[in-house]
Symmetry: C2
Amino acid sequence: VGLPLPERLLIARLANAVADNAKSASRERLASKSDDLKVVTGIGDDCAVLRLRQTNDILVTTDFTLENVHFRREWHSPESVGHRCLVRGLSDIAAMGGRPSAAFLSLAVPPKLPQSWVDRFFRGLLKLARESNVTLSGGDTSRSPSKILADVIVLGCVPKGTAVLRSGARPGDRIYATGAIGGSAATLSSLYSSKRKGVNSQLSQRYFFPEPRIRVGQILRQKKIPSSMIDLSDGLSTDLSHLCEDSGVGAEIWAASIPRAVTGKSAKPIALDLALHGGEDYELLFTASPRQRVPPRVGGVAVSYIGEITSRKQISLIHQNGSSSLLEPRGWEHFRRRDS
Amino acid sequence: VGLPLPERLLIARLANAVADNAKSASRERLASKSDDLKVVTGIGDDCAVLRLRQTNDILVTTDFTLENVHFRREWHSPESVGHRCLVRGLSDIAAMGGRPSAAFLSLAVPPKLPQSWVDRFFRGLLKLARESNVTLSGGDTSRSPSKILADVIVLGCVPKGTAVLRSGARPGDRIYATGAIGGSAATLSSLYSSKRKGVNSQLSQRYFFPEPRIRVGQILRQKKIPSSMIDLSDGLSTDLSHLCEDSGVGAEIWAASIPRAVTGKSAKPIALDLALHGGEDYELLFTASPRQRVPPRVGGVAVSYIGEITSRKQISLIHQNGSSSLLEPRGWEHFRRRDS
């Protein structure tokens, strides 16, 4: 009688996780006094009840994290899966210049999954939630026919009318990227070739536990720097094409200026293709008017000037020798092997 | 190059569905002028941007709908699956006395799923969205390793501080249920025994296309009738036990007063067990002070007085012959055959 055991355990675990998280979040909130979006009633009722400061808009984003599509149990620790399923939504909020506030987790697990996997998954998710000042506020649990399935919703806020969209880039605007890119693709490529030992530990740390650029996004928005912004989750070539399409413009980017992740003691940059097409870096890509002063570092993170927006609706890659070629959006498909 | 075909098609379909829906919703909204929660930017950016009327609280709910857990492709039409995956969240909003405003769909489908299935799924989902004045505002798409997976998030609103919780029931309060219950369990039971032809068509219509009690929930909340409320999604015995636990009370309910769904020309009530333990009726269960006048119909839907809240923390079922027994929460497990 009652719910089947795994489901009951899961629900209890989810409820506990939410309660613990809510407690520590409310402590932090008392300290910070910034109640932009407050959780009035968390898990345990039909809905969560949230209260928003009236001067804010609400941001909503939702992302699936599916076993064997977005992660593999033999490669990713449960903590990494928990971290990564939350980071996707946090990065989306960052790309709007917003502050994440509340997360909701829908989690389905197969009946035979060890409880320790679920515990460690929550450890990873809740650690990132605390670091990001996000309250896990509810969700849904279910048994799954075979694989682990998670869907994470993140709610955030931004002062009314100030969300940074993808559609604001204008011809002549400069294109910038934060941090270094391609590191996740390089790590994944090593996992595929089973050269795990060869993976630079800092690179793989960033792949398994990527850091969302929440603070950078907020600073940029507060300084009114970006005309448009997107996060680099599907790869530079694909995300830049989204931004250009939505803005009705084209772009040219300079191969030599792309901030490639480096590997090994020699700090050798990874292959250009990985930086162009590899996804899951969770850096920010943004444009700014040439009249706008853009500092070389924002919130402690390097900002690189990598190209310019054009009125001609195509994306060109300018090579180091001065020649140019069309850059096709080679959409990042998780776990598709890349040649590098 | 680019995303694999099924994913690209899905994304295009989702984008179109959202655009169409947003158009018709904004037309309706212009007519109704009730911008409680407005979609400022819909699908196509990193996040959706929503704007809330400042006198409101936000309601958030999320529900998985998984193939072979919540539906079977051989039993449920794609339209029914689309309808049912949205109704779960709408019913949660109704149970808070709220108004649903925006929905988000995360959908993962196996590579071989025919496009016509996806089209018909959207038809069912969007029809209910329009009828409920809800805007499909974004989501996520992914390929799935094998089964169809959907997660639907519904956002709604309620005047500040007026959300009807599960935790407000007090000893002496009366217990009420809307509509008739057990019909979904009866239909499912017939499906299991392959007696589909024998299923009363009105019953099965309500099972395949359940109607969320949004209006009833809002009227009850506006009239300040309920001290607590929950929706009947997991079955009366389980949902009543949730309400009692959260309120720190017990209950006794009267077998003869439970409004059982009726079947066939003779309008024979379904078995009591189906009404006690069957889920997915999406009716409302609420409590009210004995001083509160509760009309026999609310918003055109019958309201039945079925029992009373007690201080003793157990749930008793009073049988027609006057004897009583403990009512255990026999949690509704989808597709578990019930004896009836």
